[in-house]
Each structure stands twice: as structure tokens, then as C-alpha cells.
Symmetry: C2
Subunit: 213 residues, 2 copies
């Protein structure tokens, strides 16, 4: 098997789109989520994000990286003005609609434009995606500018979680594969998953075992 080695000069000399494709794939498989928001005038917005990351459990925090000046501008503005948003897992049934939300729509909600359904609950204003099986409401907790490239890390505190009972075990384990959650590589490639194993808590000089369920 031939091995390619790129140094920083090789990478920087790649054509812009090719470089973006390569660099976007290097982090590995990414989470596939739809961010739901609403403007102060009541127009909903939906935006595919592959950078949602676990920040901490105590308090319960999730974050994502956003570039305020691109197609995600409405999402960014809505979160800043309403201080809340939802995160909705993309699943095998809706990944094409989810991908389509990355088109640059202006005066129409991506829910309507892409064929997804708004779902509202009494705990906040931002819409969930009805077709998603795992849904989280968050309030904006921190906005961290990343000066290296003009992006922001937005961190939300979880205020509501909606999940199907049949994927949830007594010990807190959630089978997101059973909920048909998918994963992304690069900018545009979608994958379903097959479980290899759930492994026991690692301790020095102790053999790992597989956990069922």
C-alpha cells in the first residue's frame, strides 16, 4: 500500500475546494445534527452542523463551531437574539433533507423548503425536528470567539432531552444506532453504523471485557 505524505506547504498549495474537502475529513467521523432556531419575528431556521461536541456533563454542556458570515448566519443571529436552540440527531430517514438545509435559503424556513416538520414544546420557543428521534433543547451558555479564523465556539446548557424509551438502558447507556442516528465524513458523505463492541472501564493491567446492551 502506497503512503502519501503531505507537509504544510503541500496542503496550503492545494486548490481551495480540494483542501477544504481533505481537511474536513481529517478529524474522523463527525456527528450529524440539525440545529433548530427561531427569529424574534417568528421565522424558524434549520441548519446542518457536523461539529457538535461534548463539552461536559456537570453542568450538561454541548458546543459547536460556527462561522457567523456563511450560510449559518441566520442560525447564529437567532441564537444570539433568543439565547436558545435545539440539537436534533439526523437519522437514516432524513439525511437527504438534512443535507439540503445547507443550501442558502433567504426568506423561507428550511423546515418548509426541505420537507421537515417543526415540533414545539412548552419549555422554550426554538423548534425541534419532528422526524428526529433524539432531540435536545439548550440555552446559550457561552460564546467563545476563535480568533485564528473568525469562527465561534457556541456552548449551550441542556435544558430538555427527548428520546425514545426503547433505546435507553438503566445505566444511562443510549443505543443511538437503534435510533438510526447516522454519522458524516468530510463535507457530504453519510454513513450508518454497526456496533463492534461496548467495552468495560479501562484500568491498568486489567483485561477489558465486552458489555452487553
Amino acid at each position: 500500500m502506497s503512503i502519501l505524505k503531505y507537509n504544510i506547504e503541500d496542503i496550503l498549495s492545494l486548490e481551495q475546494r480540494k483542501r477544504a474537502t481533505l481537511i474536513n475529513t481529517l478529524s474522523g467521523f463527525k456527528s450529524a445534527n440539525l440545529i433548530g432556531t427561531i427569529s424574534e419575528t417568528g421565522l424558524t431556521n434549520l441548519c446542518m452542523i457536523s461539529s457538535v461536541v461534548h463539552v461536559g456533563s456537570d453542568p450538561p454542556l454541548l458546543g459547536f463551531i460556527i462561522r457567523p458570515i456563511t450560510v449559518t448566519r441566520h442560525t447564529y443571529e437567532n441564537i444570539l437574539s433568543t439565547r436558545e436552540f435545539t440539537i436534533n440527531h439526523v437519522n437514516t430517514k432524513i439525511f437527504k433533507q438534512a443535507h439540503q438545509t445547507s443550501a442558502r435559503y433567504e426568506r423561507i424556513s428550511e423546515f418548509e423548503a426541505c420537507g421537515l416538520t417543526e415540533e414545539f414544546t412548552s419549555s422554550g420557543k426554538a423548534p425541534f425536528v419532528k422526524e428526529s428521534h433524539i432531540k435536545i433543547r439548550l440555552s446559550l451558555a457561552h460564546e467563545i470567539p476563535i480568533e485564528l479564523n473568525g469562527t465561534q465556539l457556541l456552548i449551550g446548557k441542556i435544558t430538555e432531552v427527548i428520546i425514545p424509551e426503547n433505546i435507553f438502558s438503566e445505566d444511562g447507556f443510549m443505543d443511538i444506532e437503534k435510533a438510526e442516528t447516522i454519522t458524516i465524513s468530510g463535507l457530504d458523505t453519510y454513513h450508518k453504523t454497526t456496533k463492534l463492541a461496548r467495552l468495560s472501564y479501562a484500568k491498568p493491567y486489567k483485561k477489558l471485557t465486552e458489555i452487553n446492551g
Copy 2:
């Protein structure tokens, strides 16, 4: 299908370990990477991280969230003192060894303790994982404290990329599934993937097509 709804009070009242398991699963599928570092005295360290995230392509930046006071302390100290680290994709062949690096080893390198092989190149000091198929060297570019919970977002600038030629297409697309890269859910569950589709660039009112390759 029954639906569970948790509000913030329900979540905070869960037993600590159960809450951590639940919250760690909510972001969706996560990248599975080994962070390679070396101390100033020459002891290597290897650490499983599931929070590596794409920060930007221009300049090429990857970041990850680290909690300086836990088992990742050596990784954190090594990166601060040497200003560099490697990111190595975990694959189907090495996920058990990778999981084992999360045990708390003290005076021994996780490479030796977990049965993985150090690989050095001339472009820096931090070790790659020989058994990994996709390897990236980075120099520390920014360290951002997240005051909400005492974690840090460490951002590195890519300086070297090593990938197999046969997974790489002309347009920059990398088939990480072919490189046997895996994904994680929650704290301890490993999954391989099956491609559903690669989709065309989304534009308003234009039907998506599938891209081959």
C-alpha cells in the same frame, strides 16, 4: 414507541455516572482518535480522545476538548511544553488497545502498556501510532479556557498528514471507511460504518444527486 422527556431538573438528579453516560451520548457519533505526545524527558504518551473537531481549513485547524486534571494530564502537560501533538485515527484493528489507553498509567508509556507502536518522522518529535492508517501532526496554535467547567479547547495547526494513497480521490475526497476508521458513541461503544451516500453540493430548489467515489 414511548418517548422519554427529561427536563434539566431530571437530568441533574440522575446519579453521576449515569448522567455522564447519558450526556456523553447526546452529541451523536464521535470521532475516535489517539493523541500522541512526548515529554521533555522523552517519555511518550498516548490518549484516546473522542472530541476532536474540525475548526477550519484556511489555515488548517483541528481542535479538541481536554480536562487538564484527569487522566489526560500528561497529554496536556506534554502539549504545553513541546507545543506539538499527533492525531491518529482509531481503526477496527486497534480499538481495544485504543480504549485501554484511557486507563491511568503513571511511569510507563501507553504505547508499551497497550501494545501499540511508536512511529517517528523527521518533521517533529511527537510520535505517531504505526498501526493507525490516517495520521496528522499539529503544532499547538491556541489554548482556549472554557470557564464554565474548567476544560480547555486546544487547537492545533496541521503541519503533516500521512494517508494511504488508495483512499484518496482527485477532488480531495478521502474514504476513511476504507481506512477502517471507526466511530464512538457515549463513553465506551465502538462502531464501524457503512456508506449511505455522498451527496452533491446543496443549492436552493435544486435536486440533490449522489456522487460516486
